[in-house]
């Protein structure tokens, strides 16, 4: 249940959300793009991204109240400050440079069979896997 059904249901909700955005607004749901607009809202036609962002944040707070057990984990507790800051910086810079992240390239690009998204997804998946393995080896030293 925990390893198959909930992830599958979660994936279907993520797909439903991005399908709603494409069906109503004709846009791709890319979270890194949404985030960059929230802090730099110059173009009027991008203002839906601010509402989507509020929904994302709101969902987090709502679930924390309704079902705190879902947040039974911590982030970066045993990590150094430099790891936390580098991770954030690289995610921000990399997703802007590559025009997308797990949502824009993965969830929305793969179903469209976009060559750019397929290449991007394969690249960040492979690099993330290598990074986790490399980090494990460094920690083991």
């Amino acid at each position: 249940m925990e390893k198959v059904l909930l992830p599958l249901l979660g994936g279907i909700l993520i797909g439903t959300s991005s399908s709603i955005i494409l069906y109503t607004l004709g846009r791709i749901t890319g979270i890194s793009g949404i985030l960059s607009v929230v802090f730099n809202p110059k173009i009027q036609s991008n203002h839906w991204k601010i509402s989507f962002f509020m929904g994302l944040i709101g969902g987090g707070f709502l679930l924390r109240v309704v079902s705190p057990d879902l947040f039974d984990y911590s982030i970066g507790k045993s990590e150094s400050l430099i790891t936390i800051l580098s991770a954030g910086f690289l995610v921000g810079l990399g997703t802007r440079l590559g025009n997308g992240c797990t949502s824009g390239h993965g969830v929305c690009g793969l179903p469209r069979l976009s060559p750019r998204s397929i290449i991007a997804t394969l690249t960040f998946m492979a690099v993330a896997i290598l990074t986790v393995i490399a980090k494990k080896m460094v920690v083991a030293l």
Binding site: G11, S18, R27, I31, G98
Partner: protein, 139 residues
């Protein structure tokens, strides 16, 4: 107004999907990326669910006009350039380091811990550095 209501609700649904699927939990993400350990395959089902649904729904949706917008605005870039590969590589390193990508980063702000706030501030700084450098180059 309709646009904002729809976007807010879609954001809520996305958020709930991320949390119940395990995507917001960095232990689950690292367990999925660490193929040399005891592999946690659960996130494969998240991608499978989202991508399969969108594969069929996008086909249907793209045949008609969007209901709140005059036309579809899809990415038009086609070239597989250095920027794409470099960007995906940097993102992959950052994602692998902590197990948090942009969506889960936003949703996890509700944790309110120092670590997630610092991570998100660094992420936003990364976005700005990119926009700043690019504008400089274009001048």
């Amino acid at each position: 107004m309709k646009v904002h209501v729809v976007s807010f609700i879609a954001g809520l649904i996305f958020s709930i999907g991320l949390v119940i699927s395990g995507m917001t939990n960095p232990d689950v993400v690292i367990g999925f990326l660490d193929i040399t350990g005891e592999w946690n395959y659960s996130l494969a089902f998240v991608m499978a669910g989202a991508v399969t649904l969108n594969f069929f729904s996008f086909k249907y949706i793209l045949k008609r006009k969007p209901i709140l917008s005059p036309e579809h605005l899809l990415p038009t870039k086609k070239d597989l350039d250095v920027r794409l590969i470099l960007g995906a590589t940097l993102f992959g390193i950052g994602w692998g380091l902590l197990g948090i990508c942009p969506g889960p980063g936003i949703v996890n702000l509700s944790l309110g811990t120092q670590e997630i706030l610092l991570f998100m501030l660094a992420l936003i700084f990364g976005l700005f550095i990119h926009d700043f450098l690019l504008r400089k180059r274009d001048d």
